[in-house]
């Protein structure tokens, strides 16, 4: 059974990676077409001469890091609160609202957010920009953080924390020393999920972004709409490589500490 499982997993990994691998290979194709004509870096040269893309990439990173940090903290606290206090008006209200946010189609959330912002801007002297995008991202990723963190919390034994309290720990110490370390894999998974959702989003972002906050997906969408040049292959390859290095680095750091 073990061998069968490994083979199956290998096939799934192939499915996950082959399309992007092929895309990466063809980003080095000197031809504009799908026929291999020889190795070339012309698309990467074109990429680095594009200040527009660099700015969009930076915007995307700033938005994703800010939104992930906020959503992870708020979402984890919320999951912990829901785990501790299962019934009541406030938990019930939060649960149903988070359900709502999960079932709202992106396009609906996008346009209603835009309408909401426009309504608020009547009273405040602000405009669409990075802040409106970050707020939108925190909003739509928080439910995912709560779901993942709560799934992890549900598998924990609550009596461990109770034992800590019985032995004289304060609630804060019990949370930090007993529950949080056990919860950490869930928090990390939740943060990763929030980050990927944030950096991925096109639909909502394109609706609530201002002129100074164009993100990478928005630029790529525009390029793909124009017929999908090999430039898109090059951008995506670069993204895969950079983020891959980042993930490996963070795994190493976690392993050593």
């Amino acid at each position: 059974m073990k061998r069968a499982l490994s083979l199956y997993a290998a096939a799934v990994y192939l499915f996950l990676h082959l399309p992007l691998a092929v895309l990466a290979v063809f980003s080095f194709n000197s031809s504009r077409f799908t026929v291999w004509e020889g190795f070339s870096l012309r698309w990467y040269e074109a990429l680095f001469r594009d200040p527009h893309l660099a700015e969009a990439a930076l915007n995307s990173l700033i938005i994703a890091f800010t939104a992930t940090a906020a959503a992870t903290v708020i979402g984890t606290l919320c999951a912990y609160g829901l785990w501790k206090q299962k019934t009541g008006i406030l938990p019930g209200f939060i649960k149903s609202s988070l359900y709502l946010s999960l079932v709202t189609p992106e396009i609906v959330m996008g346009v209603s957010l835009l309408a909401f912002y426009q309504w608020v801007f009547r009273f405040l002297d602000v405009q669409l920009g990075m802040h409106t995008v970050v707020l939108a991202h925190v909003m739509f990723s928080i439910a995912y953080v709560v779901v993942v963190a709560l799934a992890r919390l549900r598998t924990l034994d609550p009596s461990l924390e109770e034992a800590a309290l019985d032995l004289g720990a304060t609630e804060w110490v019990a949370f930090r020393k007993v529950t949080l370390p056990q919860l950490m894999p869930g928090v990390a998974a939740a943060a990763l999920l929030a980050f990927t959702i944030s950096i991925d989003d096109y639909v909502i972002t394109s609706l609530v972004a201002g002129v100074d906050s164009e993100t990478l997906p928005m630029v790529i969408y525009a390029m793909a709409r124009r017929g999908g040049s090999p430039l898109v292959n090059a951008v995506s390859t670069l993204i895969v490589v950079i983020l891959g290095v980042m993930i490996v680095a963070s795994e190493r750091l976690q392993g050593h500490s």
Binding site: G81, Q85, S101, E106, I107, V148, G228, L243
Partner: protein
């Protein structure tokens, strides 16, 4: 320093929800009851026409189709995702590497991943070019712009949503329970179906819902991989807010969609007792 009781932990989320979610819901409700504005947006008079239009069989069939596509995609994700999560949890030291390999393609833009399949499947794409040059086919196969391509794109796009929560719960299963089953003579398959699967049920439920919902409301995947030939609820809503400029009808469609999914979630939650949230 005393840790805030559970209530205080809930406060930031509660504030955010009150500020935004509720306002958004009210806005969508209000839109659905107004008339379409001359240049998009909404206007007076108030009207329930958007809701009466929902009873058109055309729109019912779009809903049914969307449910079918989302259900098939979720089932396929589970079929691919559970064994993968199991494999990762049993791979000892390489766990983090294998987990990263699931997340890695996911870190690229959704558009890029969809575009990767367009690059492979389109008439002038890699697969057709290869098959043509090998002489296996004479005409390019119509691989793109059908429901198969849409489901493929959805499974590819949302598989990590299935793997991560299942992995998180399998990881929490006490090893000694599995060892005990083996000691008592259970075969690996019996241990899997009788112990591992039931104990990872919260993860399976979380993963399935996390996949099903975006699939149901998806519009980029049907748009790009389905071309104009596959109309799902997501595209219907998107059309109302863009090309058709009928925001009231778009709001009514989305409210109906949200209501249907809520009912579905409640049924699952009742059966599972624990539910998702």
């Amino acid at each position: 320093m005393k840790l805030p009781a559970a209530r205080l932990c809930l406060l930031p989320a509660a504030v955010l929800i009150l500020l935004l979610f509720i306002a958004l819901l009210l806005i969508v409700c209000a839109y659905s009851l107004l008339s379409r504005g001359a240049y998009g947006g909404v206007g007076l008079p108030r009207s329930a026409e958007s809701y009466t239009r929902l009873f058109d069989p055309l729109y019912a069939s779009i809903f049914a189709r969307s449910f079918a596509v989302a259900a098939i995609s979720t089932a396929l994700c589970l079929l691919l995702g559970f064994p993968l999560a199991l494999f990762i949890s049993r791979s000892g030291r390489r766990k983090n590497l294998y987990l990263a390999l699931v997340i890695l393609p996911f870190w690229t833009s959704f558009l890029v991943r969809t575009y990767a399949w367009m690059f492979l499947l389109r008439d002038t794409g890699l697969l057709n070019t290869l098959l043509l040059s090998l002489g296996i086919i004479r005409e390019p196969l119509p691989l793109l712009y059908n429901y198969g391509a849409v489901i493929l794109g959805l499974v590819y796009g949302y598989l990590p949503f299935m793997v991560l929560p299942i992995y998180a719960t399998i990881e929490r299963i006490d090893r000694s329970v599995i060892e005990a089953a083996a000691d008592l003579g259970a075969k690996p398959w019996t241990t899997l179906t009788q112990i591992v699967v039931p104990l990872s049920a919260p993860g399976i439920a979380a993963g399935s819902v996390l996949v099903f919902i975006p699939c149901l409301g998806a519009y980029l995947t049907p748009d790009l991989l389905g071309g104009g030939k596959t109309i799902l609820v997501g595209n219907l809503i998107q059309n109302q807010f863009t090309t058709a400029r009928d925001w009231p009808f778009g709001s009514a469609v989305s409210l109906l969609l949200m209501a249907l999914v809520m009912v579905l979630l409640l049924l699952i939650a009742r059966r599972n007792q624990e539910g998702l949230l």
